[in-house]
Symmetry: C2
Subunit: 248 residues, 2 copies
DNA sequence: GATCCGGATTGACGTATATCAACACTGTGC
DNA sequence: GCACAGTGTTGATATACGTCAATCCGGATC
């Protein structure tokens, strides 16, 4: 049953509300199925599990603030976590939404700097926290793990650059469209599809660097143009190709 | 003499025009003094040097385009390289300016994806290119190297998030000010200081996500407010504390 | 049902920043 | 000295977006 949770990694497949597994799974099983740790042998997993602690966090829990020191990395078992930047004036900008199977905080772990972002649960959640010490010693012990870690960080960097690109040289409308289409193969003939926003519209808007109001208007422009239909967080795309081409 | 080149790593210390060392240095010496590779023993350096090639590139050379496959990473010996995103419509956004001692392209190396950015020399430059194969085998051989690499990528990620933050929740003016003050200790009593823009104003503007025109206007607003003086690329800051506080 | 609440929408308005176009400066080659 | 190219400035105008404030809607709660 660990598989059910361990593999639901794509954002669009993320459940909106926290779902407890029918039977509780062991941290060990969960760790062993993480992309980062798969293909390590069980003695390695055992060592890592020794440095791992469970965190049960109700909705609205702040896991860490900007400025807190970093003692390891987190991974989501179930629930959803928002990573966000905050301004002194109380504004906030969502960097990323993390769901089951995803992990965060690896990068700061390797630096002697405090967190830059703040992490808060959006739903009741459970996470695992892996101490940096066991990560470091595992890197020394197992080069394959180091390579996985390197690949993981690289991927994060890649996404961050994609975001930077989106924000600096694409319009709000273009950002919305590519967000809706993000895990759609470019030549997919599908025509129609459906996506579910992983969080309230205000949060998604911030993730896209828009105000809630502007996001709302953009969606309605797309509805107006008969390209999508919106019910609550469910968005039906009636013509993928036309949507992709809209004002592009 | 390798030290002279190998240590000039901070952007503000970067020379505007390419300066050839009085005596040419060996790639080996240069590699050995790179932050990434320091404290590796000479046999390691030797192996890496074996996978390294020299690149002499006159101003305006495109080292790689977006979409090109990645065969290793680059490091600047002398000169200056611009990393930029490009829009289909011919627009471009400078991500980073790289000077002597800095390296780029490590992240893509670990992914099976093509470059997202384009790299072009802004001055006559010389670089070293290190093949990914020797990097991978060195990771397997020497965990300290893996950790350095991890730290390097993490730092890059950290900067990228700082950029994202600047672009999404700071005004153009604030971006200019923090750019000017970027390697100034926060409690520095210095009062006055002087920085030299590493590239033509249009390039720096793009780096800050501004148009050249807007950048020009912002600088003139600061001149008007008697906070800075500008001669060509040289900027004298007459009151660091006041500048930092300006419209903050 | 009445009330309340968070989330979402809608409208009127303001503004930071881009765009377009003209021009000024500075050095270089002839 | 003159032409020229690269760079930077300045002004007029446009616009994509944010801000503020007034609802509105659907679901809990009593």
């Amino acid at each position: 049953m660990a598989l059910i949770i361990g593999t639901a990694a794509t954002p669009s497949a993320m459940q909106t509300d926290a779902i407890m597994p029918a039977r509780p799974i062991s941290p060990r099983d969960f760790l062993a199925n993480l992309p980062l740790l798969r293909q390590l042998d069980s003695s390695d997993i055992e060592r890592i599990a020794a440095g791992t602690s469970e965190i049960v966090a109700p909705r609205g829990t702040v896991l860490f603030h900007r400025g807190d020191p970093c003692r390891g990395f987190h991974t989501v078992v179930y629930g959803q976590v928002k990573l966000a930047l905050q301004t002194p004036q109380g504004g906030e900008k969502v960097i990323e939404l993390m769901g089951p199977g995803q992990s965060f905080g690896e990068a700061v772990m390797f630096l002697d700097k405090p967190y830059m972002v703040c992490a808060e649960t959006l739903t009741d959640s459970m996470l695992l926290h892996v101490d940096k010490e066991v990560v470091f010693s595992e890197i020394d012990r197992e080069p394959r793990f180091a390579r996985r870690m390197l690949a993981g960080l690289s991927l994060r960097l890649h996404h961050l650059i994609a975001d930077l690109e989106a924000m600096s040289l694409r319009s709000g409308m273009q950002r919305v469209i590519t967000y809706l289409l993000r895990d759609e193969p470019y030549d997919g003939e599908a025509g129609v599809m459906s996506v579910t926003l992983p969080a309230p519209k205000g949060i998604v808007a911030s993730r896209l660097n828009l105000t809630q109001e502007h996001f709302s208007r953009l969606l309605h422009e797309l509805i107006e143009a008969r390209l999508i239909e919106v019910h609550k967080r469910e968005i039906r795309i009636t013509d993928v190709a036309k949507l992709r081409a809209y004002k592009a």
